[in-house]
């Protein structure tokens, strides 16, 4: 019986981990949401343009994938807000920085417990919500450098 319970627990954990990976997949098909995906190959092609910019993203070496999820409709916004809540409470993710100003809020979330690592920037405004996901082999140190880059 013990073995049975342990097995079930392991399976549940595996399913939970896999379910997390699919959190953004639904947006690819949602009509109320603007969904942008840039995979590694396209990212490499656009790399020259990126390096020309004095960009924050330039601090993150090894970006393999980028997702921009954005919505200003009630349905899309509520779904994004719900997922931001889920990600903020996920123990696999670390909240790096968060701010609220009036009706706006922003949260920086990072995880190196997944492969590839993920940096998520979630913004919630009165009429619009968006999630930016950068996935790659960058470290937390690089993320901190990016967050402090504005001061320089």
């Amino acid at each position: 019986m013990k073995r049975f319970i342990i097995t079930i627990a392991i399976i549940a954990c595996a399913f939970a981990a896999m379910a997390q990976n699919k959190i953004f997949e639904k947006y690819a098909k949602m009509e109320d949401v603007d969904f942008v995906c840039i995979n590694k190959a396209m990212f490499n092609l656009a790399n020259s343009a990126l390096s020309a910019l004095d960009s924050e993203l330039g601090n993150l070496v090894g970006i393999e994938k980028m997702l921009i999820i954005n919505s200003n409709t009630a349905k899309g916004k509520s779904q994004i807000d719900k997922d931001i809540e889920v990600l903020s409470n996920d123990k696999n993710y670390e909240i790096l920085m968060t701010a609220r100003d009036g009706g706006e809020s922003v949260v920086f979330i990072f995880t190196d417990k997944r492969n590839p690592h993920e940096l998520i920037i979630a913004t919630q405004e009165k009429e619009e919500s968006s999630i930016l996901v950068c996935a790659g082999s960058f470290s937390s140190k690089e993320v901190y450098e990016m967050l402090n880059s504005e001061e320089d």
Partner: protein, 189 residues
């Protein structure tokens, strides 16, 4: 023995051998064969019933298992005294040791479920790894579009960092101005 009794007994006997008699009828037969009023024709049946009655009357003491264990123990002890090498070979278990109830069915079910689950998870992980390279399709059809979207992402990040730092900078400025005020007041005093 009357003819009526005889036919009745024969009928009961035929039903007994057919396995159709009730316990009450069997008792009736037993009582009949225990009596002396049994004809010679039924002698074979009488012997059978009497032998069955003897078996039924056998009393098995409740502590028979303990007695046998003690007896076997004594035998073992005397044997080991004679030959000490036997002691290491003999099992230390009780002769009438109660075995644990078999749990093999549950173990088998648990093993089968575990195996199926492990195989399932492995297959799913394998599929996930295969699709991990590109779980989403590129939405940008050109490098220019990708560049534009990267710029957009960059502006989101820049704005978000500013938004996070703005309250902190304001708080630092307020604190600095208060410190300066306090310093100025102290100088005046």
């Amino acid at each position: 023995m009357t003819m009526e009794t005889k036919s009745n007994i024969e009928s009961l006997l035929s039903r007994f051998y057919a396995g159709e008699t009730t316990p009450a009828e069997e008792k009736k037969l037993m009582d009949f064969f225990r009596s002396d009023d049994v004809s010679a024709e039924l002698e074979a049946d009488r012997k059978l019933f009497l032998s069955m009655a003897e078996l039924a009357d056998t009393h098995i003491p409740d502590d028979i298992a303990t007695e046998i264990n003690a007896f076997v123990g004594n035998l073992n002890d005397s044997e080991t005294e004679k030959n000490p090498e036997l002691a290491s070979r003999q099992p230390k278990s009780n002769v009438f040791r109660q075995e644990k109830p078999p749990k093999t069915i549950w173990y088998r079910i648990a093993a089968a479920v575990s195996l199926i689950a492990i195989v399932g998870v492995c297959i799913m992980q394998f599929q996930n790894q295969e699709s991990n390279e590109s779980p989403f399709h590129d939405t940008c059809t050109s490098v220019e579009e990708a560049t534009m979207q990267i710029e957009r992402a960059n502006s989101i990040i820049s704005r978000s960092i500013q938004m996070c730092k703005k309250p902190a900078q304001e708080a630092i400025q307020k604190t600095n101005s208060r410190i300066n005020k306090i310093k100025n007041n102290n100088v005046k005093l």
